[in-house]
Symmetry: D3
Subunit: 136 residues, 6 copies
Amino acid sequence: MIFITRRETFNAAHRLFRPEWDDEKNLQVFGKCSNPNWHGHNYVLYVTVKGDVDPKTGFLINLKDLSKILNENVVEKLDHKNMNLEVDFMENRMSSTENLAIGIWEQIEKPIRDLGAVLHCVKVYETEKNYVEYFG
Amino acid sequence: MIFITRRETFNAAHRLFRPEWDDEKNLQVFGKCSNPNWHGHNYVLYVTVKGDVDPKTGFLINLKDLSKILNENVVEKLDHKNMNLEVDFMENRMSSTENLAIGIWEQIEKPIRDLGAVLHCVKVYETEKNYVEYFG
Amino acid sequence: MIFITRRETFNAAHRLFRPEWDDEKNLQVFGKCSNPNWHGHNYVLYVTVKGDVDPKTGFLINLKDLSKILNENVVEKLDHKNMNLEVDFMENRMSSTENLAIGIWEQIEKPIRDLGAVLHCVKVYETEKNYVEYFG
Amino acid sequence: MIFITRRETFNAAHRLFRPEWDDEKNLQVFGKCSNPNWHGHNYVLYVTVKGDVDPKTGFLINLKDLSKILNENVVEKLDHKNMNLEVDFMENRMSSTENLAIGIWEQIEKPIRDLGAVLHCVKVYETEKNYVEYFG
Amino acid sequence: MIFITRRETFNAAHRLFRPEWDDEKNLQVFGKCSNPNWHGHNYVLYVTVKGDVDPKTGFLINLKDLSKILNENVVEKLDHKNMNLEVDFMENRMSSTENLAIGIWEQIEKPIRDLGAVLHCVKVYETEKNYVEYFG
Amino acid sequence: MIFITRRETFNAAHRLFRPEWDDEKNLQVFGKCSNPNWHGHNYVLYVTVKGDVDPKTGFLINLKDLSKILNENVVEKLDHKNMNLEVDFMENRMSSTENLAIGIWEQIEKPIRDLGAVLHCVKVYETEKNYVEYFG
């Protein structure tokens, strides 16, 4: 078994807040991330898949196919978008990096399985100082 | 003469569009950056100042003082903010990286001069693939 | 279960040597790291914690709280310090990156548990060419 | 148990193709990587070993010894070489990053064991956008 | 006047040698770079252009247009290619990073001028340890 | 005219303080950098030289020769050393990054001229957040 990882990038606006909490409570829990006028990030995504090497190609998976899955299911839906308002798989979820990683996993797990590989890890950097990893 | 550079980071939401243009024209010129629901970036700022070395301290400028100027005049105004709606020095300006660099220059030129140094360059990365430099 | 990682930095002086060995033996084993006049590094620390996502906040842990733990228990004790002479949790230990990672683990394991999360990994870069990971 | 990782770099030319396939099939599967005139990369290698800390030295392994193993068995054989034509351990193997990671593992597993440590992971970056990990 | 920089990447095989010199002389001058079986690099290109900001768009130049020029005139000609054998603008030139930077300048100076901007600098990284800058 | 840059790294201990000032004054000016027990950094050095391309080699300068100059005159004198106590060209100078850049310039200007090139810039990173540039 071997692991291969692909890096993609996208940027998006978002806001962390709970409508049933007042502004003070939102500010206390989410700090500057609760700004009602939004803020945003350059997200960096690393997707790791695992499986066996095909002796004919030397590939676990063709990276062109993996990149196509990531672009169609993740990057095109998130890039230059508002994560709270425009991303179907983030509806009814706080737009934290944790939930974003879980949402991305759910989007790509089946397409990667259909390619004959197994999704191992979704890793998302929100800033250069923090990232989340989800293993399903 | 010597040059010293300080790196700071902030993130913000923004949108590129002209209200007098229709959506089609905005989309044609600004592409995904015209999204009405905003998007955002992790901006990276490098500020370079120049001057002579003080033989007593070995410093051109005390970096604590430079960092304080950058935080009070730039980072606190931009970090986790909407650049189009909430940043005084970006009012009535397209929120392009070019204008952001010029705006930052105007904010910090005098405070740096008051410290006894000369502002040399404001460099702003919008993404890892593009940055702007302004020399006044 | 999900994993979140925070990056912090500090710099410190240190020296690798054993007092019961002579200089030649110290030099042979530790090379330039045994220099009696010290040397130093910009250390980079990555701390990974694991746990469940709180559906209210979308957070595994509030990063402000994690950062506070890391600053109070690690960064303030090490930053701009001499690791051999001034850091309580490194007393009676060779100041290798391996021991530093173990020492940091011991400092932060309980405070992170008190926050409701589980410490997963302490990763320390001594230089850009080598790092240590400790999982408890 | 603790883990330590060493980073090394090398660059090499290679080509992905199968002689029994015609050019069209090679192009379809391997894309630009099948160019008959070769292309090349700056590879980045991370080797992770695991074991216990020697209380005398504070080391899991002396990094000078690990670096020597990596240079003699990997870097000198690959650096500024043609991976398809000149690297003994890549003979009769597609020169994919997957096979390169496996080949490197086979070269260094025993020398690292002879040093008293256990090889844990070979990680190879082909470009900044993709890397492979092999755990044996 | 303002400066904007775009980053692009490509990889290529090459070799440094002079046919009128024997192998020994080539090896003495060019070291491992003279390997007759080629080697290769992941090149990183930074192109800086200068000009005035258009008050309508806030842009010096539309980065989509600059990126298109770089891809058509540089990346497509070099990426996954052999620089000595397949790149028209490197014919009859040693494939050093110096000559590559000059060659790239000659390819893009006019298209950038046609866009209304002025080419300021071509910067090429051959490895993470060395880069060349050419200002025309 | 063309410019080529070489990157080298070294680490060292140092301290910023003036013996004629008391501890309080040193702390006020130099902050944590005045710690009497030293601290240290992983310094990163970029040296840029300029000149004409030799049509025979395609080189401005042979990077092996430049690297040799940097290692003999800078890296070997500073690496794993105490900058205040053990580095001849830093004697009687505050060990600030500004003075370090000037000191390195003085060490390498003549050897580079003897090679037929002209030293253009010495750039020194003390941490990832600040660097100094000196142009003579």
